[in-house]
């Protein structure tokens, strides 16, 4: 079964952005960002695009599916 893998934490570390700051920028709670980074939540297309826009990258670069 395919699992969602994200480079969100890596991009946040690169830009020095905190989870709370990112959450507020894209209009979600910090819990949502935490779950996204742990792979416990599949974001909506809009949320994925908003996050990609913040980091100046693409959705495909940030999120991918990997087979177990």
């Amino acid at each position: 079964m395919a699992e969602l893998v994200t480079k969100l934490k890596e991009y946040r570390a690169r830009t020095g952005m905190k989870q709370g700051d990112l959450a507020e920028l894209v209009g979600v709670r910090r819990e949502t960002i935490i779950r996204l980074e742990k792979g416990l939540y599949n974001p909506s297309l809009k949320l994925a695009m908003d996050i990609a826009k913040v980091f100046g990258t693409t959705v495909e670069e940030l999120f991918s599916f990997e087979e177990d």
């Binding site: 209009g27 979600v28 819990e31």
Partner: protein, 190 residues
């Protein structure tokens, strides 16, 4: 600039020429814009949900007691003078605390994940309330040894409000259980 954006989103949220989903999205963005513009210290959605859950629970207990008092005529006994003020004080204290927190802090708006978990919690809470009501009716049927039960209109109203508040409280506590884990208030692990 913030006010311009807020004004634009406020108009968009009420604009009937837009589709329902567009108005809903504008309303969602408006809530977050207002949250960002608000200078008060933040209160997480989970915390505000907890406080509202406690308030709903105190309302449920108060109205349950009022319904029972109406049904079993507590007014003539000393029970009403000792227990009723306790429930009333608890409810007023919870209300005062909730109002204080709402004015002192800015409440974090919900998001898709919170709405999804709250809906899930709502379904579970309705099932629990139905089970409770069914069990109560079974107990009453057994105790009274009769298939008939009479209640005054005011007693019925109190019980209805009590169960509505109980469902609301349960929904919030189940939501908090679903979202358990991860101390969000702790420092971020960079």
């Amino acid at each position: 600039m913030e006010n311009t954006r807020i004004t634009q989103l406020t108009k968009a949220a009420k604009d009937k020429s837009l589709s329902r989903s567009e108005r809903k999205e504008a309303a969602r963005q408006l809530a977050w814009e207002k949250y960002r513009a608000d200078k008060r210290p933040p209160m997480s959605f989970k915390k505000s949900t907890l406080y509202n859950g406690i308030l709903s629970l105190t309302v449920a207990l108060l109205f349950a007691y009022m319904g029972l008092a109406e049904q079993f005529d507590f007014k003539q006994s000393g029970i009403n003078l000792t227990i009723f003020p306790f429930f009333l004080a608890a409810e007023l204290a919870a209300l005062a605390f909730s109002v204080r927190q709402t004015t002192k802090y800015k409440a974090e708006p919900s998001d898709d994940l919170a709405n999804s978990n709250m809906d899930h919690a709502g379904m579970i809470s309705y099932a629990v309330v139905i089970i409770i009501v069914s069990l109560l009716l079974l107990v009453l049927n057994t105790v009274h040894n009769s298939d008939r039960f009479s209640m005054s209109y005011s007693g019925l109203l109190f019980i209805f409000v009590s169960f509505s508040s109980l469902q609301s409280a349960l929904q919030k506590f189940i939501f908090l259980y679903i979202e358990r884990g991860g101390d969000v208030d702790a420092e971020e692990d960079e």
